[in-house]
């Protein structure tokens, strides 16, 4: 097993470089995954936001005070001078998005049941203003009901009634299709990002190994030995596979350790299988690149171009939903696309029937197909190179 041991020694020599990649990628993956999982969780929660508004009243009354108090639930009040230019500037620079003006005599007209109008100036197409409109309408429509049906109602009494009516809340509960799905957000993103780091480390390691192993002078020296070419190649493949599996194990172990609580389920098992299949595919790509790269200086450049290129178009950095159809069509000719698609499908798995699993398995099979294709091309190039 001289060649096998030699390969491991060569790989060991390259550990510092690969370790830098592993650590950097794992940290980045962690940060990105955590940030994205928080974002995903935020998407499933409702939180009311307040917009900034200017409340300008040309008169003072309990009814208007009540309105202002009601509006404070959906808006932050910004004090502005009642000058045209100052108000326009405030809207232009977005220090407020809504200006409400209560004209003089509004309360008196309203209490008499006359038609009244409030003046508003808003930032165009601002959805947050709708909340303010709704609140104003709700307040005034309710007030009008009291005014119409209770004769000579005092403003203080009216405000009390409105306060108690508008404080009634209804609790709403949002339900997902499955509670389990949310648990795999982290694993989903981690495994997607893992394709980048795994591919980078595999290409770096395998290419460095092949540059040494397929050095012309060394290869000729090995060819003069009584060790058969078949034995040499077998030992080389064995060492490469071991390297691939160890790299995969390190990355998966990291994911499980970080996500310990949510890791012991079938989804994680499928994530692991999918990533192992992708690791073999990555080893094939690395073997192909190793046959094409001719100098150590080119390794980093090739690694970055290949991994970033594959990952950008395949939904690793940008979710697949945000990519255009033409990009997705191109991406479907890359193994990373099928890896990411597989992960996304696994993350949504709540049941594990044959029909649920089938789409995931098909993604894995396509990746295996890619692995075989890359390996076959690499072998052809390798053979051609050997006879040059």
């Amino acid at each position: 097993m001289q060649v096998f041991k030699l390969c491991l020694k060569v790989l060991k020599k390259n550990i510092p470089t690969m370790l830098i990649y592993i650590v950097v990628f794992l940290v980045v993956s962690l940060i990105m995954s955590s940030a994205l999982s928080k974002e995903m969780q935020a998407d499933t929660l409702f939180a009311q936001k307040k917009s900034n508004m200017a409340f300008i009243s040309e008169e003072s009354s309990p009814l208007i005070d009540g309105l202002k108090q009601e509006l404070s639930k959906v808006a932050n009040f910004v004090e502005l001078p009642d000058e045209k230019e100052a108000l326009q500037d405030a809207l232009y620079f977005r220090s407020v998005s809504y200006i409400l003006r209560i004209p003089e005599g509004f309360t008196e007209s309203f209490m008499k049941g006359e038609n009244v109008r409030l003046k508003k100036t808003t930032v165009p197409n601002s959805y947050s203003n709708t909340y303010i409109d709704l609140s104003i309408n709700k307040y005034l429509n309710n007030a009008r009901l009291y005014v119409r049906h209770i004769e000579n109602i005092s403003q203080e009494s009216l405000v009390q009634h409105l306060k108690s009516d508008l404080s009634v809340n209804t609790s709403v509960e949002l339900k997902n299709k499955s509670d389990k799905v949310g648990k795999h957000i982290y694993a989903n993103y981690f495994f997607n990002y893992m394709s980048y780091s795994l591919l980078s480390v595999l290409i770096l390691g395998m290419t460095a190994l092949m540059l040494v192993f397929y050095n012309n002078d060394l290869r000729r020296r090995n060819a003069c030995s009584p060790l058969s070419a078949r034995s040499i190649n077998l030992q080389f493949i064995l060492a490469s596979l071991l390297f691939t599996v160890i790299t995969w194990m390190i990355m998966v172990a990291f994911c499980i350790l970080y996500n310990w609580k949510n890791s012991f389920n079938l989804n994680t098992v499928y994530f692991m299988i999918n990533s192992l299949v992708f690791a073999f595919c990555g080893a094939s790509i690395s073997f192909l690149i190793g046959n094409l790269v001719k100098s150590a200086n080119a390794i980093s450049a090739v690694t970055n171009v290949v991994t970033l290129g594959l990952c950008f178009i395949s939904g690793v950095f940008v979710p697949l939903e945000l990519l255009g159809d033409s990009v997705l069509k191109v991406a479907s000719f890359t193994p990373t696309y099928w890896f990411v698609t597989g992960n996304n499908r696994i993350a949504k798995l709540a049941q594990f029937n044959h029909s649920d699993i089938e789409p995931v398995l098909s993604c894995m099979l396509i990746q295996l197909g890619f692995a075989l294709a890359f390996f076959a091309v690499a072998l052809v190039i390798n053979k051609k190179r050997r006879f040059q």
Binding site: K9, N215, L218, R221, N222, C224, S225, P226, L227, S228
Partner: protein, 310 residues
């Protein structure tokens, strides 16, 4: 007979690298392949080792046909390539151990052989060094150690002293002779005729892929018509004096150029005494005077009409 090559032909397109080359190497000899750069020495070695396919010919090593999968034959061959072929990722010791391990499986025996090889090339102080830290001469010695550690019966060295300082070169040449004394048959290729003359018991001169002469160094020198060569450094020599010199007995040629008089004698003749008498008689003032016997370069020059280093 250790190696027998018959009518070996190797073509690269229209270029004939080896043109019906035949040679035989006997057990226990140091066989030299001498020729200028591009004469086909390395191609011949690569064909003999089955590293290159060839168009025609037969190659036998240890009495068996040599093929790429003749692993029994390869087990007894040690090869030292022209380019240093060692792993930069392994230390000196690990490199020798790796290459020795391709031939010897037994760990104890291998350790003994590796230690012996390290002693043999004098790299004992550098066993933990990585090749990149070694000087050119030490690197060449490591290259040799990797090729000979398993104690092969046949050692093929393809220009092992290229770009090596004189001290390391002498050490390498002494080592090769020692290996031969220990029983190994050696094939040594070089374009340095001094090295070939120094260590080879039999020499083949090749040019343009063809063997142009084979024999011991004395046999090769006996093939040419030239005898002793006398060189005199003198500042003035008239045409008349040169003409009178040329008429002396046994003088094959006399040329005066750049204040140096070069006189070549006929084969088997010594003229030093006659020339000294002539210089004294003519009152020619001279600086240094020295005499030398024909070299392999002279043999190559006479057969091919060009210098070995052209």
């Amino acid at each position: 007979m250790i190696i027998k090559v018959k009518n070996l032909v190797k073509r690269y397109g229209d270029l004939i690298a080896l043109d019906h080359l035949s040679l035989s190497v006997n057990e226990g000899e140091v066989f030299g392949l001498l020729g200028p750069n591009g004469s086909g020495k390395t191609t011949a070695i690569n064909c003999i080792l089955s590293l290159l396919s060839y168009d025609k010919g037969e190659i036998e090593i240890f009495g068996q046909p040599m093929t790429p999968d003749a692993y029994n034959i390869k087990r007894d061959i040690g090869i030292v390539m022209q380019n240093v072929a060692v792993y930069n990722e392994l230390t000196v010791y690990e490199n020798i151990d790796y290459f020795c391990g391709l031939y010897v499986q037994d760990k104890k025996l291998r350790k003994k052989l590796v230690d012996e090889a390290i002693d043999f090339v004098g790299l004992g102080d550098f066993i933990k060094f990585y090749p990149k830290k070694l000087s050119g001469g030490l690197l060449r010695r490591l290259n040799i150690a990797c090729g000979i550690a398993h104690k092969p019966k046949l050692i093929i060295l393809d220009e092992p002293t290229v770009a090596v300082d004189p001290q390391s070169r002498n050490k390498i040449l002494e080592g090769i002779l020692e290996l031969n004394r220990q029983g190994a048959t050696v094939i040594y290729t070089s374009h340095y005729m001094e090295e070939i003359e120094q260590i080879c018991s039999r020499i083949m001169i090749i040019d343009k892929g063809k063997a142009i002469a084979t024999g011991t160094k004395d046999e090769l020198k006996a093939m040419i018509s030239m005898g002793e060569k006398i060189t005199v450094e003198t500042y003035s020599l008239s045409e008349e004096q040169l003409s009178r010199l040329r008429k002396l007995p046994n003088i094959a040629s006399a040329v005066y150029k750049n204040q140096t008089l070069e006189i070549k004698s006929n084969k088997g003749q010594n003229n030093l005494e006659t020339i000294l008498d002539f210089i004294k008689r003519e009152g020619i003032q001279f600086g240094k005077i020295y005499s030398e016997m024909p070299t392999l370069n002279d043999v190559f020059l006479e057969i091919t009409g060009k210098e070995l280093r052209d």
